[in-house]
């Protein structure tokens, strides 16, 4: 099987989800698109999955994902390209006041 060279991206984990990433505020995950990086993330930290994805395996609508500073919804969604050194941010909706 050919070795794929996949880019490593930094994924910023929001505080409420850090208990599922061994309390790490950021982790690395591999992939050349946002979807691939997130898939790699949840394969490394499976307990994250239900917080990011619903039962139909769709990204939860109140969880925003950014590649660098841009929301993937305004780019190419899961197909948004991720290059080496890019960061992904997971930003869920919060309402406390």
């Amino acid at each position: 099987m050919p070795t794929e060279t996949r880019e490593q991206a930094t994924v910023f984990i929001p505080t409420p989800l850090r208990s599922f990433t061994e309390n790490r505020p950021s982790v690395t995950a591999a992939g050349s698109t946002a979807a691939e990086v997130l898939n790699d993330l949840v394969s490394r930290y499976p307990s994250l999955k239900p917080h990011l994805y619903d039962e139909q395996e769709r990204l939860r609508s109140f969880v925003n994902v950014y590649v660098n500073d841009d929301d993937i919804r305004y780019l190419q969604n899961g197909d948004t390209r991720v290059s080496a050194g890019d960061s992904l941010s997971i930003v869920p909706s919060i309402a406390g006041g």
């Binding site: 910023f12 929001p14 505080t15 409420p16 505020p25 239900p50 939860r60 609508s61 109140f62 925003n64 950014y66 500073d69 841009d70 929301d71 305004y74 941010s89 930003v91 869920p92 909706s93 919060i94 309402a95 406390g96 006041g97």
Partner: protein, 389 residues
């Protein structure tokens, strides 16, 4: 001809002298602050520092919306209030404190819950809004009312150790729905009571909110229009992400479909106000009084707690089993009671447990009941020794 100096009295010139010295403020800027009006929706964690700093800065008219009473658990973060205020309406205590900080401020107190019935009467009376509320329905309500009224909304929210700040509804800028088009399902994102919050966090984030309000009034610097500021107190990091106006946004887009306020409880999947909404939505219930009767008679049903374990450490009803609602579907097989048995489900206030009843019904539990009002109702009506949180 009047000059800017004519609008500021000598004591105000003394009071704001450090502002007047700043080239970006000066007498002209201070007069803008004095002529401005800001509505603070929520006088809690975020509203406390925002109100104090906006009053200190010399905002001419400040409106406060809050119908709550000061609770002891507020005091670790809601710095508008002190020990002597516990049990009193928040606005009365806030008014006294703000009056002392700056008697030149004209205060307007709105001791009502902001709702679709009154938001469009209250909000348009102000130049700017600072959203410091603590529920999803209210955030969507404030957003929509501001967009419909053409009023800029300085938004901030907090959770545990994180905060968000942005400016919505500015001309050409995005609104809250552009950032989060749909709310999370009820019970999925805990409140401050359920998730906890570092006391200093709203102090920082609320002051950032006040900063944006002041910048917008003065017309200086770069307000957070089109940017979302993320603050992480643990890392002491500030990051900004881009927020774009969504041309398809139903409320601020090019072809808006929302031109009136809606039912925001319903939008967020919560039961709308009304005594029998749970019966109408088909979730069978049992009151705490009925459960107590069964307990005393020795015939109580199996009790399932669907809160998080730390909540059980704060206040317990001695449930037979605890499985957090977020894990329930996955862990249904662990339930130590059979589908035909009677099972009562409780949480803190009755909404997570209502969802759990639906999950169990879908899994074939025909005699699942929601404990109406949750452990809060149990504490209030049956056993006050059980903690409230």
């Amino acid at each position: 001809m009047t000059t800017a100096a004519d609008t500021l009295a000598p004591e105000e010139l003394r009071r704001y002298q450090r502002h007047l010295t700043l080239p970006q403020v000066g007498i002209e800027g201070q007069t803008k602050l004095r002529n401005a009006s800001v509505l603070l929706v929520g006088a809690g964690g975020l509203g406390s520092p925002a109100a104090l700093y906006l009053a200190a800065a010399g905002i001419g008219r400040i409106g406060l919306v809050d119908f709550d009473v000061v609770d002891e658990s507020n005091l670790h973060r809601q710095i508008l209030y002190g020990t002597k205020d516990v049990g009193k309406p928040k606005l009365a205590s806030a008014a006294a404190r703000i009056e002392d900080v700056n008697p030149h401020v004209e205060l307007e107190l709105h001791e009502v819950p902001l709702s679709s019935d009154n938001a469009l009467d209250i909000i348009p009376r102000y130049d700017l809004v600072a959203d410091g509320t603590d529920t999803f329905p209210t955030r969507y309500l404030v957003n929509d009312a501001c967009v419909l009224s053409g009023i800029t909304n300085v938004y901030a929210s907090i959770f545990q150790f994180e905060g968000q700040v942005s400016v919505f509804g500015a001309p050409g800028g995005p609104c809250y729905r552009c950032l989060y088009p749909t709310p999370p399902p009820p019970g999925l994102v805990p409140s401050c009571a359920e998730g906890g919050v570092l006391g200093v966090l709203p102090g920082i984030v609320g002051t950032l909110q006040a900063t944006e309000v002041i910048k917008l009034i003065l017309g200086i610097g770069e307000p957070l229009v089109g940017r979302l500021l993320l603050f992480d107190a643990l890392a002491t990091s500030f990051r900004t992400l881009t927020v774009r106006r969504n041309p398809d946004c139903p409320v601020c887009g090019d072809r808006p479909t929302i031109d009136a306020l809606i039912d925001y409880q319903e939008f967020c999947g919560l039961p709308t106000n009304g005594a029998s909404e749970r019966q109408e939505s088909g979730v069978p219930e049992i009151t705490v009084a009925e459960y107590k009767r069964r307990l005393d008679a020795g015939t109580r049903p199996f009790l399932l707690d669907v809160r998080k374990p730390f909540e059980d450490a704060i206040a317990t009803m001695g449930a037979d089993q605890l499985i957090p609602v977020e894990e329930l579907e996955r862990r249904m097989g662990e339930l130590r009671t059979a589908p035909g048995d009677e099972i009562v489900i409780h949480c803190r206030s009755g909404s997570r447990s209502a969802r759990a009843v639906q999950m169990l019904q879908a899994a074939g539990y025909t005699r699942a009941y929601n404990l109406k009002g949750g452990i809060l109702a149990w504490s209030e009506e049956i056993d006050p020794s059980v903690g409230r949180y």
